[in-house]
Symmetry: D2
Subunit: 334 residues, 4 copies
């Protein structure tokens, strides 16, 4: 039987709320004892409705609560590393939203604190827990398509962020592609050793003026000899495009988009079907529950978490290399 | 703002448990105050875990509880009508699993009690709340395909029931096709006026020996002039096949099966994709939540329920006609 | 090595021209020596361009030509039986367009003449030679899906015929469904023993006034115990809908429509793909060549033709039964 | 009305035979007067069967024949440029299989001769005439998806060539990718300005030992700002994979593989559908006819051919750049 887990959620923005609700509704053996958010007032009704007893504006109250053994870090990215360190030092298990940080040095500091404390640490790369991609990984891992030769990820958003957001986002490669860098590592089980980013501003000039790109084809070489490609765009007008294709020596695997329904309408003018599910909340909702399930299982069974600190670090390294490739117009070795 | 609703669940078999869990997790304004099951002992741990306070072996305790304003009837079919009558007489709103009864007279008695009491009454035809079929209905209702000419439902189970079950089930037309009779009424918005059942025993001889059929193509005529067909089989080895097709004067609509993933594997020998979701629990889980949502909304907003008493009666009438058509080898008028 | 075959084509309407062109271009060992059409003048340029030496207005010239060993009968239906008899009596092999006749007695006379003469005789049920349907038959025949339980054919035209045509067409069941009656016999390898036609006038009232129906769901029972359904409509606004589905004890087979391209366009408003290939000329062009190939092979190798006289007779019998079922509102035994 | 065209076919290997047969069967106004092949003896029976009067071992006989106004050059690649020059000098229109040559200087010489003579010249990039890709080009050209942002071509062969062939093939980029370089130019209507080849030996080590690669992801930048990617592999075990995807500011277009049938088989173990059409002969047969049609139309109507000399030159230049990119491990500007 599973031990009782007492959780504090830090940061109650969109993703913090999702995690809190999923835990309350889906994990009877887990109690969300407290939640902290700088705008504590605004979340009060919502938190009370969920039966959460303590609502703080200062996350330190959670760190200091000795009954709380686990934190879910959903605050702004620049606070992840610091909170991770403090939580680790007080012996708390940690689920940390991606990315750990944009600064490699601070990631190392956070991971060192985690290691020293011997607590569980999981990074929020939720797409690994998606029904489609998890199945692809299983098929690859059991040898269904032999040795991997080519891995391709298509990841396009339905609408671009504002140029203001772009300025503070760390850039497309760290903000958006980071999920895809994780995905290719997850699918291939191999490390990226070289990256070349063919990128452009084709969606919104203001994004270019903010110093970023909005469309990219990112070429990859893997340690195991395979090659890969990530196809990103900040705007696909038909919606959130989330696909992968893998070619191996014994076959190929592809994943199509999930759609709201399977309805097809045929009229005199056309045959039409559903666009992809709108955006990540619709598309990946289930995966947020699944990643929590695996996180709590790792705690209960004292096993390695499915997305480790290294898994949090590597995509940032690849993202920084992609950025440099784009700036220097050449492939970058990692 | 929604009023507080206090629910008693009667019958805690598979579907009773699903409803109880869905209500506890998904409807903060609804309290499951009590649950009754003839095997109260066996459900104790589960019910306590859900936070349900009262666990009875006698459903009358729920009927007698004046604080409980709503019952969810999930007990065996032969008790539906009686419990409906008692719940109505005590002023309780009623959600009743399908079918209300196999006896038309008893259905009329139950519906009369409901009408006299003026309580809400909804029958558990959950497939109306399925994402695919609801979309089909919307498209038809808004005129997307003009006037309906032909409606077709494919509904095949992954595995046949035991011959023992068959004997007490009311027969395939009342046990299985009843969902499809509801579906064609729902989709067309028109009544069935004639039915011809072309049926056979092609899955399991023991089903035939138990006096039933296991495979059928059921031809329908509708009040609005349209024609229709239901394709049933107690066993499709590839899984739970749940599709519809509708032809209208301005176009056609079709619905494919839902699958666990969109993964396609291509090898030297074949291109393979997922089989349909395994059975009704996997396929229709969401619809069980949706029907509850609409039921509670009908109570809160004092509106007509989306599946009325008449909607519970009509499929039974069609099912009995199909049975007779099968026995007499000719079309039967309703 | 194949013997030289000398062909006379009788009737140069749309289908006669197709056969003549296919033979000239595709069968070097076959010579189209002559062509006959009541409007000989109108086809002169076309026939000369194809290198056909003799162009007659009277088909008897072809019958009398002793060098011609094979006739392709593409004239109007009411002449098929008579020409068949004359061609058989002069020892010519015969390819006859469907139907042989609408009169069962005349079909018997024609087939008797064929049998007496011992000539080859093939009926133009070209859909048996279609890439999709041929594959379905192969899969069934080699046991891929076990014993057949349910066979379903969807066959809808893109546009209805004129009411004038309807009057002389023999009615939908003999004019249009006849192909589908052949298809179910071909796919199942079993005879239809009962038919029930659920039909209506839902496309064009003028068709009803001309004494015919335009929409039908035709229920079938087969000798081997299987059941089936044919879904016909004189007008599907989205185009020529030609599909089959077969359910067996070990699996199911389905065939989707052929489309001009595999292009899918995704925009902000929709995801659209191609409508089916427009009509039978586009959809079945290849099958017209294939049926000729098998016909000439039957002659060269002295083997049974793939669509025999009985195959020409049976669909007419089923069609007449369907007509009667429709008139009398009850299933008809064959 | 079209003028009479007299053709000489030079080279009767696989593709030469296809062109000769297509012309004989499909173009009544075109006469194949002569055919030349170094192994004239071996093609005699075939050529006589087609009704070709003159069969030569020396192509000069065709060049010298003043009645012949058009040549179809299907000989080995190293002879294309020389024969083009000679044919141009004798005023003959020229259809030349791809590539014109691997040597850029010789291509220039050939094109200069063509220009000086003012004859028609078309290169055999047949995929432009494929039903799928032609439709994609039309949709792009008419603005259906706005401005192109990303173009992607997948082109994988079902089986690798022999290492011996690889040695004389000019390498994968010039032998195989050349079609894809043409395709991206055709689809985008824009020139490639930079190429980066991420390539590896993942199919057959012997290909690597022969100095070539067998798997590649080729990144492209276009003059109009769009970016692109070509995905090549010498072996996809599931068959000939020929797809494109284009993303534009107003939508996206994708093309799936053509398959022999649309049959889907669902069993207890899986849902399977057809693999792609086997190889280029099956997949692109129709396009070989279509390119001839447009070529002869260009002659008859005195219009520009749909694949000009420049269209023959550019893919070679891109291929050479890709080769260099691969050797130097960096993007190459054109």
């Amino acid at each position: 039987m599973q031990q009782r887990i007492r959780v504090g959620v830090i940061g109650a923005g969109r993703i913090g709320k999702i995690h809190a609700e999923n835990i309350v509704k889906g994990f009877p053996q887990v109690e969300v004892k407290a939640i902290a958010d700088v705008y504590a007032d605004k979340i009060k009704d919502w938190a009370v409705g969920l039966g959460i007893k303590h609502i703080y504006s200062d996350y330190k109250k959670i760190i200091e609560d000795k009954e709380i053994d686990t934190v879910i870090i959903c605050s702004s990215t620049d606070t992840h590393a610091q909170i991770t360190i403090e939580a680790a030092q007080t012996g708390k298990n940690i689920f940390c939203e991606k990315p750990i940080d944009y600064d490699v040095e601070r990631i190392h500091q956070a991971l060192a604190a985690v290691e020293k404390a011997g607590v569980k640490f999981q990074v929020g790369f939720n797409r690994r827990f998606d029904h489609n991609f998890k199945k692809v990984r299983e098929l690859i891992a059991n040898g269904s398509i032999g040795d991997i030769q080519v891995v391709k990820v298509i990841s396009r958003d339905p609408a671009p962020p504002s140029p203001q957001y772009v300025k503070v986002s760390g850039g497309m490669f760290l903000d958006m592609t980071i999920h895809d860098f994780d995905m290719v590592r997850y699918l291939t089980g191999s490390e990226v050793v070289e990256v070349y980013a063919n990128a452009a501003v084709l969606v919104d000039k203001a994004i270019g003026e903010a110093g970023d790109v909005d469309t990219a084809l990112i070429s990859l070489k893997f340690e195991n000899g395979a090659i890969g490609m990530i196809d990103n765009c900040r705007q696909a007008v038909y919606g959130y495009d989330q696909r992968v294709e893998v070619l191996g020596t014994k076959g190929a695997i592809s994943v199509a988009n999930d759609t709201p329904t399977t309805v097809v309408v045929s009229t005199e003018s056309s045959v039409t079907s559903d666009k992809p599910k709108y955006f990540f909340l619709e598309r990946y909702m289930e995966s947020f529950q699944e990643e929590m399930k695996d996180f709590f299982n790792s705690i209960s069974n004292n096993t390695v978490t499915p997305v480790t600190g290294v898994d949090g670090l590597k995509p940032v390294l690849i993202g920084l290399a992609a950025k440099r490739s784009c700036e220097e117009g050449r492939p970058i070795r990692l």
